[in-house]
C-alpha cells in the first residue's frame, strides 16, 4: 500500500502526519506513536473471549513500514504500548522481541499510560526508556493524557479520536489527528482499537482525518 503523508505546521514546527496513524518530527528524526495496545488480542483470548491472532502482527508490520519510510532515529510511544498484563503472553513478547532485534539501533522511549501501569513494566528485552509525562522533547511536551503544558506544545494519545464526516449522500467515521492552540491528540495506532468521536469536543480545532491510504485536512 502506498501511504500518503501530510506535512503541517504545528505551533511553528513541522510535523508529518502519516496515513499509518502516526506523526513524524523531521527535525528531530522522531516518530510519535500513540496507543498501540499491543497484545490486546492475547488479553481477550486469555480471558476466554476468542479473538484471532494477527492484529499484533499487523500493528508491528505497520510500524516497520513507517520506519522504512521515515528512517527515524527515535520512536516515542505516547502511552498504552502494551494493553494489559496478559499481553506478556509468550507469543506477543516473542513477536515484540523479534521486532526489537530487527531495529536494534533505534532509541525507544515510552511515556507511561494507564494501560502500561496495569500491564506492569515493559519487558527488558525491548530496551525502552521509561519517562514520565509531560516529557519535554524539543518544542513538544509528550504525554499520554491530553493536557496543557506551559511553554510547550503538548502531543498526547489516550483519546483514540475519530471524526465523523457526513454529507446527505454519504458518511464515514475516520481516525483523526486533532490540534488545538497548544495541545494536540494523535489517533490510536493499534490495529485492534476502537475510537471516540470528537466532532463535538474538537470544535474550533484543526482536524486531519485518515481515509484509507490518505490523510486529509477537514479543518485547517
Amino acid at each position: 500500500m502506498m501511504l500518503e503523508a501530510l506535512t503541517v505546521d504545528i505551533g511553528g514546527h513541522a510535523l508529518v502526519l502519516s496515513a499509518a496513524r502516526a506523526a513524524f518530527d523531521p527535525v528531530r528524526q522522531t516518530l510519535f506513536i500513540a496507543d498501540a495496545h499491543i497484545g490486546k488480542d492475547a488479553v481477550f483470548r486469555a480471558r476466554g473471549i476468542p479473538v484471532p491472532e494477527g492484529s499484533t502482527g499487523e500493528t508491528l508490520a505497520r510500524l516497520d513500514m513507517l520506519i522504512s519510510i521515515h528512517r527515524p532515529a527515535t520512536i516515542v510511544f505516547l502511552g498504552d504500548l502494551l494493553h494489559a498484563r496478559e499481553s506478556h503472553a509468550l507469543t506477543t513478547l516473542g513477536a515484540l522481541a523479534e521486532w526489537r532485534e530487527r531495529h536494534a539501533g533505534l532509541r525507544l522511549i515510552l511515556v507511561e499510560g494507564n494501560h502500561d501501569r496495569h500491564a506492569g513494566g515493559p519487558p527488558d528485552a525491548l530496551a525502552l526508556e521509561m519517562v514520565e509525562a509531560p516529557y519535554r522533547f524539543g518544542p513538544w511536551a509528550l504525554c499520554h493524557y491530553p493536557q496543557r503544558v506551559t511553554g510547550a506544545y503538548a502531543l498526547a494519545g489516550h483519546e483514540h479520536p475519530v471524526y465523523r464526516v457526513a454529507t446527505r449522500l454519504d458518511s464515514a467515521r475516520l481516525p483523526c489527528f486533532r490540534f488545538g492552540a497548544d495541545a494536540g491528540v494523535l489517533p490510536a495506532f493499534g490495529g485492534f482499537t476502537g475510537g471516540f468521536e470528537v466532532n463535538e469536543s474538537a470544535r474550533g480545532e484543526r482536524i486531519f482525518v485518515v481515509a484509507g491510504d490518505r490523510v486529509m485536512a477537514v479543518r485547517t
Binding site: 490486546k40 473471549i49 479473538v51 484471532p52 496495569h118 454529507t167 446527505r168 481515509a211 484509507g212 491510504d213
Partner: protein, 877 residues
C-alpha cells in the same frame, strides 16, 4: 473449590439490577414511599405474585380430582369448552400437542386443568408438596406473574397439594434461593431463566421430574432466537425424560404445521393439534382525517390526529392506543397530555423499556378500570385480558394482518361485546393500507412466521450452557441438538466448528493461542473450569434479544427503566431527553447506569430504539396493491379510498399509480443529486436489500456511492451523478440471476452485515454487558462488535459467525425470498418510467426519510475527498 454458584443469583437478564455475589451486597435500605403514587407502585409489585402455602382439607383432597373439577366448574357456573375437554383427554393420554385459539379463550385452563388431572392424583400424597412436575414457559415476564396467579387460584380452589413458583429476571434472590432448596411443583418462567437453570450443576436432578412443559404464546417465540433457545432446552428435557409431554399455546398462524413441528420435534410422545375457540366479531375501522395532506410524510408521527383520537377516547370506557415504536409511544403520550391536561393521572404509557414496577402499575390500572387510556407498544400485545378495555387504536400502519387482529383482540372482552380496532393513519397513503387491512382481516389472509435456521451463535451459547450445567459428551450432544427442528439439518462439520470455537477459538488452531472457554476432561466430558467464565456466561444468557442497555435512574435513587446504549452514548451531561413521558436531564453515566434528574425544560430529544422498524407483511402489501389497482380502475368503494382519492389522482396525473403487473420507476433531478424511485411493494426490509443490490450492480462497473432510503412501498437511490437507467434496466438490472452472489457482494459494500454482527457477537459471548460492581479490569475487555467484525474479517475470514451474519442479513433482515420474488415480478412487469418535475406523493416520504443506508464501490479516500469537497462547497454557498 467453587462449583457453579448454588446461590444462583444470576437470573438478571435484560433489565434487573444484577448482583453477582450475594455476600458482597449491601443490605437494601428500606424506603418508605413518599407519595401516593410511589405507594401504589409498591402495591402493584407486591400484587405480582406470592406463592401461597398449601392448606388442604383432607376430606376434599381425598375425593377424586374429576369430582372436584366438576364441582368447581359448577360452583363458578362454567361449562368446559369442547376444545378444553379435547386437551384434557390428550394430556391424560400422555400426548403432546399444540393448541391454537384467540386470546381470552381459556387456553390456560385447558392445559393447566389437564395437567392437574393427569399428575396431581398419581403422586404419593406423603411428599408434600409434589416435586417440580410442570414447567410453564412464557415469553414475557409481565405475563409470568399473571399466569402464576391463575395457576395458584386453581390449585387452591381445587385442593391440589401443589406449590406454584415464579422464576424470572424479576424474581428476588431470596425467592430463587428458596426454590433452589426445593423446587415448586409447577414453575412459571421465561426461556432465558430456563436456560439459566440448565447452567446449574444439578440441573438434571432438579428437572428430571418434569412431566409436562407448557409453552405459552409460542407464536411469539417461534420466529426468533429465543424460540431457538426454547427448542434446545426442550431437547435437553426430553433427553432426560423420554415420556416428557410438551404443549404449546398459540394464536392462529398462517403456518400452524411449522409451529407444531418446531415445538414438538424433540418430543417423543404422540402429538395432537387442537383448534380452540374461533375469533368473535372483529371490527376494523379508520379515523379518517378531515383534510388530506398533499404530501404524505414518512417518519412524521401524525400527531395532527391527536384531537380526534382524544375525542374517541373520551367516549370509550377504557382504550389502548398502540403505536409501532417506543419513540412514537412517547410522542403520543406527550401529545395526548397536551391536548387533555386534565387527563394527567388517567392516562399512562407502557413500553418494554420502562421499569417493571411502572409497567405493573399500569397493568393494574387497566385491569381495575382506573386508567382511561394507555399508550403502548407491542409490550401489551400479549397477556391477560383487561376486561374494561373496549376500544383499541392503532397509530400508523398495522404492518401485518395477524398483528392487527391480535391487537384488536385486546378489546371487547366484556360479555356481548365485539373487538374493535380503529386505525389512525399518520400519513395519507396509510388510508390505502387501512382499507387493505380490513379486507385482509375479512378474508383471513394471516401471515405465517419464519424461523431462524440453525443459528450458530445460539448453538455456541448452548454448548457453553451445557458444559457448565453438568458437562457433555460431543457425540451425545450433537444427536440431542439435531432432534430440534431448528438444527435438524445441522452438519457434523458445523457442530464441530461450534465446538472448536468454544474450545480453542476456531478451526484454525494457530489463530487462537492461549484461548480456552470449554475444556475436555479426562472422561471425554466438556466442562467450563473457570469461575469467571461461568459468571460471565450466566450474565450473557439473558441478553439473547436485548440490545446493550443502560439503566436509567434518578440521582436520588429509583430506577425508571432501560435504554439502548447507542442512544445514551450520544448524550452529554446536561442534555435533556424524554423518557417514560417525562423530560429528564442527564447528569452522568456510571457503570451501565445513566443518572438523571427532572429537567426544567419540557421538551428534549426523543430516544431512538434500534430494531423497532417492522416491515409491512407480504399479505398486507399485496392487499394494498390490490386496493391501488381498484383505484386505477376508478373503484373507490371504501371510505378510506374515497378520502385518499385526490392524492391518488394527483399521483396518476404527475406520474402513474403503482399496480400489479406494472413497475413504476420515477427519475427526478434535485439540488441534492439524481434520484431514482422504484415501488416494488416488498416491505421495508426487502427494499433495503433491493436498494443495495441495484446500487451495487450499477456501481460494479462505474465506481460510485448511492444513498438508499426505503419504506414499505419502495426505495430511492440517490447519487451524485446521473445514470442511464432505461438502458440499465433493459440490460437486466432487475434480473433475479446471480441474486445470492450479488447480494453478498453488495453486503460487503454496505454496513448491514457489520451491524447484524452486533447481535451475533453478543449471543455467542464475544461481547458482554457490564454490570454494576464488576471489577474494573473488565474495562480491558472492551471492544465493539464492529471491531470484532473487522478483526475476524481480516485475520480469520473463515469464521462461521461471519457467514452467519451474512446469512441472517440475507434471510431475515433483507428477506431474500421476498427480494427474489420482487425481482421476478419486477422483471416480468411492464416498465412505466416517468420523469416527474417534482417528487410525487409516493416519492415524497422517501425523499425526506432520515434513516438511510448506503452502498459504495469507491475507494474510501475518494469518498472522503468528495464529501470534503461537498462540505466545502456548501460552506461557501
Amino acid at each position: 473449590m467453587s462449583t457453579p454458584a448454588d446461590d444462583d443469583d444470576m437470573d438478571n437478564h435484560q433489565d434487573t439490577q444484577p448482583n453477582s455475589d450475594a455476600k458482597r451486597r449491601a443490605p437494601r435500605a428500606r424506603r418508605i414511599p413518599r407519595t401516593r403514587a410511589a405507594q401504589a407502585k409498591a402495591d402493584a409489585v407486591a400484587e405480582l405474585f406470592r406463592p401461597a402455602p398449601i392448606v388442604i382439607d383432607q376430606d376434599v383432597a381425598n375425593t377424586p380430582f374429576d369430582a372436584r373439577l366438576a364441582a368447581w366448574f359448577e360452583r363458578h357456573g362454567w361449562q368446559p369448552f369442547p376444545f378444553q375437554r379435547e386437551v384434557w383427554t390428550g394430556i391424560l393420554g400422555a400426548a403432546s400437542g399444540l393448541l391454537h385459539a384467540t386470546t381470552g379463550a381459556g387456553k390456560t385452563w385447558a392445559v393447566w386443568l389437564g395437567a392437574l388431572a393427569a399428575y396431581s392424583d398419581k403422586l404419593p400424597s406423603r411428599s408434600l408438596p409434589a416435586p417440580l412436575t410442570v414447567l410453564w414457559i412464557t415469553p414475557m415476564r409481565a405475563l409470568a406473574a399473571d399466569t402464576a396467579r391463575a395457576l395458584q387460584t386453581a390449585v387452591t380452589e381445587l385442593a391440589v397439594p401443589w406449590s406454584i413458583g415464579l422464576r424470572t429476571g424479576d424474581t428476588p434472590s431470596a425467592e430463587r434461593a428458596r426454590q433452589n432448596k426445593r423446587m415448586p411443583s409447577a414453575l412459571v418462567t421465561t426461556p432465558e431463566s430456563l436456560t439459566l437453570m440448565l447452567t446449574r450443576a444439578n440441573a438434571e436432578d432438579e428437572m428430571k421430574h418434569v412431566r409436562l412443559v407448557v409453552v405459552d404464546e409460542w407464536h411469539e417465540l417461534l420466529g426468533n432466537k429465543r424460540g431457538t433457545q426454547t427448542q434446545l432446552a426442550l431437547a435437553r428435557l426430553a433427553h432426560w425424560r423420554p415420556d416428557l409431554q410438551v404443549w404449546g399455546l398459540s394464536a392462529t398462524l398462517g403456518n400452524l404445521d411449522l409451529a407444531r413441528d418446531a415445538l414438538l420435534a424433540p418430543v417423543k410422545t404422540p402429538r395432537v393439534v387442537v383448534r380452540g375457540a374461533q375469533p368473535k366479531t372483529l371490527i376494523v375501522d379508520t379515523l379518517i382525517p378531515d383534510t388530506i395532506e398533499r404530501f404524505p410524510w414518512g417518519g412524521h408521527l401524525g400527531t395532527r390526529q391527536v384531537k380526534p383520537v382524544a375525542a374517541e377516547i373520551e367516549h370509550a370506557r377504557s382504550s389502548l392506543v398502540f403505536t409501532n415504536t417506543r419513540s412514537q409511544a412517547e410522542v403520543w403520550y406527550q401529545a395526548l397530555l397536551e391536548a387533555r391536561p386534565d387527563w394527567a393521572g388517567l392516562i399512562a404509557l407502557h413500553h418494554g423499556s420502562l421499569d417493571q414496577e411502572v409497567r405493573a402499575w399500569v397493568e393494574l390500572g387497566l385491569k381495575s378500570g382506573q386508567l382511561k387510556a394507555v399508550v403502548c407498544t407491542s409490550s401489551l400485545d400479549l397477556g391477560v385480558d383487561f376486561l374494561p378495555v373496549d376500544r383499541v387504536f392503532q397509530i400508523g400502519s398495522p404492518k401485518g394482518v395477524a398483528r392487527l387482529m391480535q391487537r384488536a383482540g385486546r378489546s371487547g372482552h366484556a360479555p356481548g361485546r365485539a373487538s374493535r380496532v380503529t386505525i389512525v393513519p399518520t400519513h395519507a397513503l396509510e388510508l390505502v393500507e387501512a382499507a387493505a387491512a380490513r379486507w385482509a382481516v375479512e378474508e383471513r389472509r394471516i401471515e405465517g412466521r419464519e424461523m431462524p435456521n440453525k443459528p450458530l451463535d445460539v448453538l455456541v451459547q448452548h454448548l457453553v450452557t451445557i458444559a457448565i450445567g453438568g458437562g457433555f459428551k460431543a457425540r451425545q450432544l450433537f444427536d440431542e441438538v439435531r432432534t430440534t427442528y431448528a438444527y435438524r439439518d445441522l452438519t457434523q462439520q458445523e457442530f464441530d466448528w461450534a465446538l472448536a470455537f468454544v474450545e480453542r477459538g476456531g478451526s484454525s488452531l494457530a489463530a487462537y493461542p492461549d484461548y480456552h472457554r470449554v475444556i475436555l476432561d479426562a472422561e471425554g466430558v466438556y466442562r467450563v473450569p473457570r469461575e469467571d467464565l461461568v459468571r460471565r456466561h450466566r450474565n450473557n444468557v439473558g441478553t439473547i434479544v436485548a440490545n446493550a442497555t443502560i439503566n436509567i435512574a434518578y440521582m436520588t435513587g429509583g430506577r425508571i427503566g432501560a435504554m439502548e446504549e447507542s442512544f445514551v452514548s450520544r448524550l452529554k451531561p446536561g442534555d435533556v431527553f424524554t423518557f417514560g413521558g417525562r423530560a429528564l436531564e442527564l447528569v452522568r453515566v456510571r457503570e451501565m447506569t445513566a443518572y438523571v434528574k427532572r429537567a426544567t425544560s419540557s421538551r428534549g430529544a426523543m430516544p431512538q430504539w434500534a430494531g423497532s422498524k417492522m416491515p409491512l407483511s407480504s399479505e398486507l402489501a399485496d392487499a394494498t396493491l390490490m386496493m391501488l389497482a381498484r383505484a386505477m380502475n376508478g373503484v373507490y368503494d371504501e371510505p378510506e379510498m374515497q378520502a385518499v382519492r385526490p392524492l391518488l389522482e394527483l399521483q396518476a396525473k404527475w406520474s402513474a399509480l403503482p399496480e400489479p403487473g406494472v413497475l413504476l420507476v420515477e427519475l427526478i433531478r434535485s439540488r441534492e443529486g439524481h434520484h431514482l424511485f422504484c415501488y416494488p411493494f416488498a416491505g421495508r426490509m426487502a427494499h433495503v436489500g433491493l436498494g443495495s443490490l441495484i446500487g451495487w450492480r450499477v456501481a460494479r462497473d462505474q465506481p460510485s456511492t448511492f444513498s438508499i432510503s426505503m419504506n414499505d412501498y419502495g426505495f430511492e437511490l440517490l447519487s451524485a451523478r446521473p445514470f442511464d437507467w432505461e438502458t440499465l434496466i433493459q440490460d437486466g438490472l432487475f434480473s433475479p440471476d446471480n441474486l445470492e452472489h450479488d447480494i453478498l457482494a453488495s453486503l460487503n459494500s454496505s454496513e448491514l452485515a457489520a451491524r447484524r454482527f452486533r447481535e451475533i457477537a453478543r449471543v455467542s459471548g464475544l461481547i458482554f454487558q457490564g454490570h454494576p460492581g464488576q471489577q474494573k479490569s473488565a474495562r480491558q475487555l472492551q471492544a465493539s462488535s464492529g471491531l470484532f467484525y473487522e478483526v475476524f474479517r481480516r485475520h480469520d475470514s473463515g469464521n462461521l459467525l461471519l457467514a452467519q451474519a451474512e446469512e441472517e442479513v440475507m434471510l431475515q433482515e433483507l428477506e431474500l425470498d421476498r427480494i427474489r420474488a420482487a425481482l421476478k415480478s419486477m422483471s416480468g412487469s411492464r416498465l412505466a418510467l416517468t420523469r416527474p418535475k417534482k417528487p410525487t406523493p409516493f416519492a415524497f416520504p422517501l425523499i425526506i426519510a432520515r434513516l438511510r443506508e448506503k452502498v459504495s464501490t469507491e475507494k474510501l479516500s475518494d469518498r472522503v475527498a468528495r464529501m470534503l469537497a461537498d462540505l466545502e462547497k456548501a460552506a461557501r454557498a
